[in-house]
């Protein structure tokens, strides 16, 4: 339903009232913003010493390379792993053999119900023995498992969204289940699933920030190093810069998802959210 069914084109009195509301809201927003800036200024958050870090080449390099790049690396590795995990267990869930279907379903349900942070802490301790990169891999493995389970459900929804006629025709010409899945259903399902995969990328990227609890490298870790340094002591500016970086990257990914949706899944727009079911949260 489009929004302008909810309210009529305003007449003169309503238009005046709306203008009044608009002005009040605008004034309120500006006032809040001004107060926030004033308070931060009072606490010296706008001093150049606190912001100078972000234009110093060494620190910028560290922030972008050790921070952002590392985070992107973790997220990318996790997503690739998650796609593999999702394919394996998604296909498993669709199997005709109960001994494959039931364990796959249990694995998927388990990893969807457990918080990512819990997985990260456990994996960190589990890998802890003589592994130099245990924090990095703890984050990657935990994210792989969690997003993999989500993608398994998405795969299932995607395959169920492929028109039934496709698989019926494939069976009619004598293909076996394995071939039908591999040659006919999967390629079409993947096209439909692309936006969902991108949105899981965004989720994975946001969740890499949790790595700070297991001392994993990445953007939040570098941010902590910067603001704990007694020379700077600049929590608020640092968190602000970090937030801007995260939001920018995520917005770019969203744009990518929208473009992919238009290009590839134009004909068949399935309601993935409903198909995924209530247990698959989009975070």
């Amino acid at each position: 339903m489009s929004a302008n069914v909810l309210f009529d084109a305003p007449g003169p009195k309503t238009a005046a009232r709306h203008r009044a509301y608009a002005i009040v809201t605008a004034v309120a927003l500006v006032a809040v913003l001004a107060w926030v800036i004033y308070r931060f200024n009072e606490k010296g958050q706008f001093e150049s010493s606190k912001w100078e870090v972000f234009v110093t080449p060494d620190y910028v390099r560290v922030l972008l390379v050790d921070g952002l790049l590392k985070t992107l690396q973790m997220a990318a590795t996790a997503i690739i792993g998650a796609v593999a995990f999702g394919v394996v267990f998604g296909v498993g869930k669709l199997s005709d053999h109960a001994w494959v279907r039931v364990p796959s379903a249990l694995v998927v349900e388990f990893f969807r119900a457990v918080p990512v942070l819990l997985l990260m802490v456990f994996t960190w301790y589990w890998l802890g023995i003589n592994a130099d990169n245990s924090s990095y891999w703890a984050v990657v493995l935990a994210l792989t498992a969690y997003n993999g389970a989500v993608l398994a459900e998405v795969l299932r929804a995607g395959i169920n969204a492929v028109p039934k006629g496709q698989s019926e025709a494939a069976y009619a010409i004598g293909m076996r289940k394995n071939q039908v899945m591999r040659l006919v259903q999967m390629p079409q399902a993947v096209k439909i699933m692309l936006p969902a995969i991108i949105s899981q990328c965004i989720v994975a990227l946001k969740d890499t920030a949790l790595g700070i609890y297991v001392l994993a490298p990445g953007l939040t870790y570098v941010a902590r190093q910067i603001y704990l340094d007694p020379q700077f002591n600049n929590r608020v500016p640092t968190m602000f810069v970090v937030a801007v970086l995260y939001v920018s990257v995520n917005l770019l990914l969203t744009l990518l998802a929208t473009w992919l949706q238009k290009r590839y899944a134009g004909e068949k727009k399935i309601d993935l959210a409903a198909a995924r079911g209530p247990r698959n949260p989009e975070r």
């Binding site: 918080p115 589990w126 959210a273 989009e282 975070r283």
Partner: protein, 227 residues
């Protein structure tokens, strides 16, 4: 197994905090989310943009960063929760709890807003047209006709958002609240050899809570099903 059996009170206390965070933030996010969606679809352009900007920015920020903002920046703005000092049995709800609840509410309300918006879009066009036809204002249309039906249609996405909130309460561990994941890390540190058992027990706790919530959501959805 001794890790859990000897420290069962810590185990329960951890989940107690989890549930407390979930309940308070859940209610808060539903309220704030409803308010946001009303702004989002309303007649006043500036409110629409403001809500849209807020939702987009907060949705794309990691929850840890939202928490961090509240832990560091809010006190500078004078928003401390020093007045909060409730004690119920073994549980202490102090300023840390207050800021955790606010962070979770602000973050989850954006997802609630989007879930409700999808619900509103699912309400048949004719309903709103009929409401206009009998002369209801925007406020009346929303409260009497659209929102009640929208809530019904948004139960599945809302349920998934609340389940996500339950799992997101774990992030409070990073900021000092002694909830389930915090206790799990503490126990694993002290009983390093039993870490798998500890993990399974805590995971089981979460699975139980998530299943309960799912089950409740399913029942609600079935009862409120329109067609």
């Amino acid at each position: 197994m001794t890790a859990i059996t000897d420290n069962f009170d810590l185990y329960l206390r951890g989940f107690g905090y989890t549930i407390a965070l979930f309940v308070v933030s859940g209610i808060g996010s539903l309220l704030l989310g409803t308010f946001l969606v009303a702004m989002r679809v309303g007649p006043i352009a500036i409110m629409r943009s403001a809500a849209a900007v807020y939702v987009t920015v907060v949705r794309n920020t990691p929850l840890v960063v939202v928490f961090a903002f509240f832990a560091f920046a809010a006190p500078m703005l004078g928003i401390t929760f020093g007045f909060l000092d409730v004690e119920i049995g073994q549980f202490e709800f102090s300023s840390l709890f207050g800021s955790a609840v606010v962070s979770l509410t602000l973050y989850t309300s954006t997802f609630v807003c989007e879930a409700l918006r999808s619900g509103i879009n699912a309400v048949p066009l004719g309903q709103a047209e009929a409401a206009r036809a009998i002369g209801l204002t925007f406020g009346g249309t929303m409260t009497q006709v659209v929102l009640p039906q929208a809530f019904r249609a948004s139960v599945p996405p809302l349920a998934s958002v609340q389940i996500a909130l339950l799992k997101n309460t774990s992030v409070a561990a990073v900021f000092g609240i002694a909830e389930a994941v915090y206790q799990m890390r503490a126990l694993t540190n002290n009983y390093a050899s039993e870490r798998t058992v500890i993990f399974v027990c805590f995971a089981a706790g979460y699975v139980v809570l998530v299943e309960l919530l799912s089950f409740a959501a399913n029942r609600i959805e079935r009862r409120w099903r329109i067609a």
